[in-house]
């Protein structure tokens, strides 16, 4: 059974974690934003900006973790811009998000090209090394797969767990969910709707940018034009697929990565029988399929896309 051989190979699961990490950051980031009632279509651009800023910081000689922090900061800034426009001014979340993506992408490319005008091959940095967790990594098979990954992969899982706890079990998380479901009610409870939404969008955007930074600082070691390649849009589809449940979103991102890694292995084994473009299409087709499957069950936050203006009915 060939499928079994693929699934048993440790290289396969290492690839799964590598594919899943940026998706986990992006999906959890988008989910937090949407649970507060704000769709953030800036995700694609914010991930690109994060990958560029993180790479640039390290390329200029900075520490790799500070690079990730810088990326998060850039994400939070664009999140703030998105929040000012959609939360405070109540502009269309769709068009603003697309505008943020355009702005963040073009700014990333502009800065990248201004720093490095005349290079044909993108200069490389020393990417983050895999980190073997002492003890656990020496467990046969499993240790090599799950406990010898990029530190950012662990971070993705730890941060998601913390944020899921915060969102579902704490008063702060309750406030976030409340402004996304019933902003008027939240206001009556003394919650500052605009502030909570702004915070949620900024935190979510910072996470997206870290997901982008994973691409340049861990998965690859250079920045390329178009390197985000639709990952942001896939994250948005994953949020819908999860029915806005953070635990399911985490699982969804990993499941998606399993499929993606699987199609790459199948592609290698079938050779040129099926054109390679078909395999490259699969992630996007899979995302659309996921949207269709979950459409009937979609329990989206009631106030998603609805701007809140105090005192307006």
């Amino acid at each position: 059974m060939e499928l079994l051989t693929i699934l048993m190979a440790s290289g396969f699961w290492i690839a799964v974690l590598r594919i899943a990490t940026p998706l986990i950051f992006g999906t959890i980031g988008e989910l937090i934003s949407e649970r507060s009632g704000v769709l953030n279509l800036g995700i694609e651009g914010i991930m690109t900006m994060g990958s560029m800023i993180g790479w640039l910081y390290v390329y200029q000689g900075g520490n790799i973790w500070m690079g990730i922090l810088a990326a998060a900061g850039s994400g939070a800034l664009f999140g703030l811009l998105h929040a000012i426009l959609t939360v405070h001014l109540g502009l269309s979340q769709h068009v603003t998000g697309i505008g943020i993506t355009m702005l963040a992408c073009s700014l990333s490319y502009f800065i990248f090209r201004m720093v490095l005008p005349q290079v044909t091959t993108p200069p490389k940095i020393k990417a983050m090394a895999a980190w073997a967790i002492p003890g656990l990594s020496s467990i046969p098979v499993i240790g090599k797969i799950f406990f010898t990954a990029s530190p950012l992969t662990y971070l993705a899982i730890v941060i998601s767990a913390v944020l899921i706890f915060l969102l579902l079990k704490t008063p702060l998380g309750l406030a976030v969910r409340m402004v996304g479901e019933n902003p008027k009610g939240a206001e009556a409870q003394g919650i500052n709707v605009l502030a909570v939404r702004t915070g949620a969008v900024m935190v979510g955007s910072a996470l997206m940018a870290v997901g982008g930074a994973f691409l340049t600082l861990s998965a690859f070691d250079a920045f390329y034009i178009d390197m985000t390649n639709g990952r942001g849009w896939i994250c948005i589809a994953l949020v819908v697929f999860s029915s806005w449940r953070p635990g399911k979103a985490l699982l969804g991102a990993i499941l998606f990565a399993v499929f993606d890694a699987l199609q790459m292995r199948v592609q290698q084994q079938t050779g040129t029988f099926i054109p390679y473009q078909v395999y490259l299409m699969l992630p996007y087709i899979l995302s659309i399929t996921a949207l269709i499957i979950m459409s009937r069950k979609a329990a989206y936050p009631s106030a998603l896309l609805v701007p809140y203006r105090r005192g307006e009915r």
């Binding site: 109540g90 603003t96 355009m102 073009s106 502009f110 639709g230 849009w233 473009q277 299409m281 996007y284």
Partner: protein
């Protein structure tokens, strides 16, 4: 800070909004040029000279205006109905694919038949591509933004397969491009020895038709009503879902025609670099135009000036041409904000 609805929205404000957005875009652009260490004032002069300074420059600017008019109309029509079609890029390529299918020898018609046929095929292909997301939106409430965006990637890979695979022109010295379309389908040049082709006239005519359609026909009224207030439209007996699907076919068709126009007017053959993101730029055009079909003509021209001018300016000053993309993005976000200010005033309190 709070927003207070205005009782009257003056014509001065409505016309001032795009002007302010354009100025804001240029201002941010200048700051970035200055940060990059180049003279900002000279850059502005070079942009306008590069886009409008000679007969050739103007012809290039108008050549670039043509696909932007089509894509701007595609976005304007769809956004009027609050159908967020972000897939014009994919629809453009599907239009070009259909035009290649029909125009490279499938039928051997004279030009006056072949050109309309090629345009019809392209429009149909673009419309059908948007039909899927529109049906998913109306039947299953699947958000069309994500589906249209994802379809862009799928269509580009499909074209990639075509030009590297079955459609690859053996005469093209190994370049990934399809066979050239028949001479009969190629649009005539408006000015000899430039790239400016009669597609510009077609796009202008289509803009007027779209304006008249939206303004004077029942279908146009229904489109605007659905966008203005879905609930009210439904209560007044407008078939909302049918209107959305119809709008999708029109919008996708317009974007498809942009692809046909580039193919039959500029390129002659299908390649992967047929469009440098016209579909996405069309969104900016539509917003700058305040979703008005005739405004789209002006907005397309302005955006085209920026792109052609920036191409020439960046070559001379050694700045990257991504500055033009930054400019359009800033224009979009500023326009959104200023449009709000035509309807609300800000009270600081």
């Amino acid at each position: 800070m709070r927003l207070e609805p205005r009782e009257h929205s003056s014509i001065f404000l409505n016309l001032g909004a795009p002007v302010f957005a354009v100025l804001a875009g240029l201002a941010v652009c200048s700051i970035m040029v200055w940060l990059a260490g180049a003279p900002a004032g000279k850059a502005l002069v070079l942009i306008f000279r590069g886009a409008l300074g000679s007969k050739f420059a103007i012809s290039e600017t108008l050549t670039r205006t043509t696909p932007l008019i089509f894509c701007g109309l595609a976005a304007a029509v769809a956004f009027r109905a609050k159908l967020w079609n972000i897939g014009a890029e994919g629809q453009l390529y599907m239009g070009a694919v259909a035009a290649t299918l029909v125009g490279t020898g499938l039928v051997d018609f004279p030009g006056y038949l072949l050109i309309p046929l090629v345009f019809a095929a392209g429009a149909l292909a673009g419309g059908i591509l948007l039909l899927g997301p529109a049906l998913l939106k109306t039947k299953l409430k699947v958000d069309e933004v994500v589906t249209t965006l994802l379809l862009n990637f799928i269509v580009l890979l499909f074209v990639n397969w075509l030009v590297f695979g079955p459609w690859k022109d053996p005469m093209a010295l190994g370049w990934p491009q399809a066979r050239p379309i028949l001479d009969a389908a190629i649009l005539g040049k408006l000015i000899p020895r430039t790239r400016l082709h009669s597609g510009l006239l077609i796009s202008l005519a289509i803009a007027v038709i779209v304006w008249a359609f939206m303004r004077f026909t029942r279908w146009g009224l229904e489109t605007r009503a659905v966008g203005a207030n879905v609930r009210a439209a439904r209560f007044s007996g407008i078939p909302v879902n049918r209107t959305i699907v119809r709008t999708a076919l029109i919008s996708g068709g317009l974007a498809g025609m942009a692809g046909v126009c580039e193919l039959t007017g500029v390129r002659d053959y299908l390649t992967l670099d047929l469009s440098p993101g016209f579909g996405y730029t069309g969104i900016v055009v539509a917003m700058l135009a305040g979703l008005h079909p005739l405004g789209v003509i002006l907005a397309s021209f302005f955006i085209s000036v920026i792109y052609i001018g920036a191409d020439s300016m960046t070559r001379q000053l050694g700045i990257t041409r991504y500055i033009a993309d930054v400019n359009t993005a800033v224009c979009l976000l500023t326009m959104l904000t200023t449009m709000l200010l035509t309807r609300y005033r800000i009270r600081l309190k």
